[in-house]
């Protein structure tokens, strides 16, 4: 696995090594050139001195070279070389080192155009040669008269480059060793400095690794004061908080769902066990089948509500292909109540605009409206009036239900849409699963709408449903 420290180390070392290679190469070339120039200058000086030894004595060309004064041209070991040629390229004089043992070839100067060049010396060594045009001075009566002969000679000197090669070799070795040393030093320095520099990031990573669903009360204080990580810290803190809230919600939901099923299960199990243990209790045994059916129906209703809730909250907002008429639905639901014994419809004060259309599944929309209406009847005081209004507002269909708030407090309103929330914490009775309003909210949200509960007046609770929709002319 790649690490930031490893990547930074590799890239930094590679960059430094490339830079070092460029600089070292430039240094090497510069020094080598300088040394070569020094060798050329030395050869030039020596050639100039030797040129003064060439003169014309009358018509006679003379070269007053003395091997004793310049023994380097005659020594056996690592000798230097020279040759002096006439204009016709014939050899006038050559060093003893060239002539020794009858060696006449190769000539030091195969061409006429070069001034200084690298060559392979006759004894196989690597060397440097320099050519100089020599105009012999004319000597008259034993003295130089200041004139020169008309035809120049060509003097070529050559010497081995052992010293220069040795210096260049040492320089190369030094630069390579310097490179290796630099690599080692930089690697160590980087390891230390990156470890120090990346410490907040490492600490953050360690802290993040310890975060589990059971330990979400963590604060990423290890990166406090680190500017580059401030944003990450804020986001992580927010993320962990949101995750914690979501997990807590999930735990509460699961616990509530389990509780919702446990109560009828306990009723069923205890009743069955007591009936089996005491068969002489005929009254209980006679009651068991009917009670079992009631309890099974209650558990089935809870399970179906849970599944519906899961489906409604699983997907995001959806657009139904079907247009449903809210007005017609509301009127039908109100009409249904008129057939009831207690004439619920008499309690309803309806103000419903006609043909209000929303894009929503008609069955689910009916469930939503029925649920809200049932709630108003079930939880409000008996015989209290219930106001039902529906109208078009901008691009929204607004449905409002108002009824006396009964024992609901303003604080309770914040919990009304929570799954399994009940005003009374006890959970007896078979009529409600505790998921009704939670389902209503989930469905409304899935249609892109909203629902809220508020106190319209201190004694009146109002449910307001906003759904994207249109009036009859749109």
């Amino acid at each position: 696995m790649n690490s930031i420290q490893g990547r930074l180390s590799r890239y930094t070392i590679a960059t430094l090594l490339v830079l070092y290679a460029l600089v070292a190469g430039a240094i090497y070339i510069g020094i080598a050139r300088y040394l070569e120039a020094r060798v050329d200058a030395a050869l030039q000086t020596k050639a100039s001195v030797m040129a003064t030894l060439v003169h014309m004595d009358g018509e006679q060309l003379e070269f007053e070279f003395d091997d004793l004064l310049m023994p380097e041209y005659s020594r056996a070991s690592m000798p230097e070389y020279f040759e002096l040629r006439r204009a016709d390229r014939s050899i006038f004089e050559r060093s003893l080192s060239l002539a020794r043992d009858g060696v006449t070839k190769p000539m030091l100067d195969p061409g006429l155009d070069r001034i200084a060049w690298d060559i392979e010396l006759p004894d196989g060594r690597h060397g440097r040669a320099l050519a100089l045009a020599v105009f012999p001075q004319v000597e008259r009566d034993g003295e130089l008269d200041g004139t020169t002969g008309s035809e120049p000679l060509r003097l070529v000197l050559a010497q081995g480059l052992e010293q220069l090669d040795s210096v260049r070799g040492a320089l190369r070795a030094g630069l390579i060793l310097g490179g290796v040393a630099l690599w080692l030093l930089v690697a160590l320095a980087l390891r230390w400095s990156l470890a120090r520099g990346l410490e907040p990031l490492t600490a953050l990573a360690r802290q993040v690794e310890t975060v589990t669903p059971e330990s979400l009360d963590v604060e990423f204080s290890s990166v406090e004061g680190v500017r580059e990580l401030a944003g990450i810290r804020t986001r992580l803190d927010e993320l962990v908080e949101r995750l914690g809230s979501a997990l807590e919600r999930e735990r509460r939901f699961t616990s509530a769902a389990a509780h919702e099923l446990r109560t009828p299960l306990a009723e069923l199990k205890t009743m069955a066990q007591v009936a089996a243990r005491f068969p002489e209790d005929h009254e209980l045994r006679a009651r068991v089948p009917g009670e079992v059916l009631v309890l099974v129906a209650r558990m089935q209703s809870t399970v179906e509500s849970l599944l519906a809730f899961a489906r409604a909250t699983k997907s995001g907002p959806t657009t139904s292909a079907t247009r449903s008429d809210v007005s017609a639905l509301l009127l039908r639901l109100i009409d249904e109540r008129s057939g009831r014994a207690n004439a619920d419809s008499a309690r309803i004060q309806a103000a419903i605009e006609p043909a209000l259309l929303v894009r929503a599944d008609p069955t689910l929309l009916e469930s939503v409206l029925r649920n809200l209406l049932d709630n108003a009847f079930a939880h409000g005081p008996a015989l209290a009036p219930i106001a039902v209004r529906a109208r078009l507002e901008a691009d929204s269909i607004v449905v409002e239900l108002e009824n006396p708030r009964g024992d609901l407090t303003e604080r309770d309103l914040g919990h009304l849409f929570e799954p399994f929330w009940r005003k009374d914490v006890s959970r007896h009775g078979d009529a409600h699963s505790g998921l009704g309003l939670a389902l209503v909210e989930a469905w409304v949200k899935s249609w892109g709408g909203t629902i809220r509960a508020e106190l319209a007046r201190p004694d009146l609770v109002r449910f307001s449903l906003y759904l994207p929709g249109a009036g009859p002319n749109q």
Binding site: D281, L295, S426, R427
Partner: protein
């Protein structure tokens, strides 16, 4: 032995009460917290079975108030909440035991029996009174190895006297712990039950096990235990 069941589910409380009554318990039932607290204060119970999520007054508050009043009654908490923190909270507030719904009725019975024994500082479910042995777990009585057939109410009277052996137990005390509040109790109900017990034990030569202490009630002497 008398038990108060405070449970808001009528169906569940009815089943539990039936089962407990048929197992030799006198059972009073309360369907909400306020009624439960009132009954717990007004009567003396050997055990209270308490649901936590109750209307009007939740179980924990009820238990806290009961303990604040100095009640030492043994309380078994019965609830659908099974999280460790819920159990710990219940026990810290003063519950003696905890049972999570749904439960086995046999386990509930065993636990309330155990709590009743603890109340009377008896660890062994067998109470030995000489040749008479009372099995509080099986709700049976034997004398010299032979079973003694007792009616439910008679057994309850004998068991309560046996648990309080060495003490005089008044008729009112016996009524409190043997009868629940559902029916009117006949004025001589306890005397009749004691007579019936003596009659049944007489066949085994143990008619004198229960003594009458005029002005105090009935007692079983400690010496009888080892006789």
């Amino acid at each position: 032995m008398k038990l108060l069941l405070i449970e808001d589910s009528e169906r569940l409380s009815d089943s539990i009460a039936r089962g407990l009554r048929r197992s030799g318990w006198a059972v009073d039932v309360a369907l909400d917290g306020e009624a439960g607290l009132a009954q717990a204060i007004a009567n003396e119970y050997d055990v209270i079975v308490l649901d936590l999520m109750l209307p009007k007054l939740d179980g924990l508050t009820l238990l806290r108030r009961l303990r604040e009043r100095g009640s030492l009654v043994h309380v078994l908490v019965l609830t659908a909440k099974d999280a460790v923190e819920d159990r710990v909270l219940g026990l810290r507030v003063g519950a003696d035991d905890y049972l999570v719904k749904p439960f086995d009725f046999d386990e509930l019975l065993a636990r309330v029996d155990a709590l009743a024994r603890r109340r009377h500082e008896a660890k062994d479910p067998l109470i030995r009174l000489g040749e008479v042995i009372i099995d509080t777990a099986q709700k049976t009585v034997s004398c010299a190895g032979k079973p003694v057939e007792l009616a439910r109410r008679e057994y309850m009277v004998l068991e309560y006297l046996a648990l309080r052996r060495g003490q005089s137990v008044s008729r009112e005390d016996l009524e409190q712990h043997v009868y629940d509040n559902r029916k009117e109790i006949a004025s001589n109900a306890i005397d009749s039950a004691v007579c019936a017990i003596r009659r049944r034990l007489q066949r085994s030569g143990q008619a004198e096990l229960i003594r009458t202490r005029r002005g105090f009630g009935y007692s079983i002497r400690v010496a009888d235990e080892t006789a």
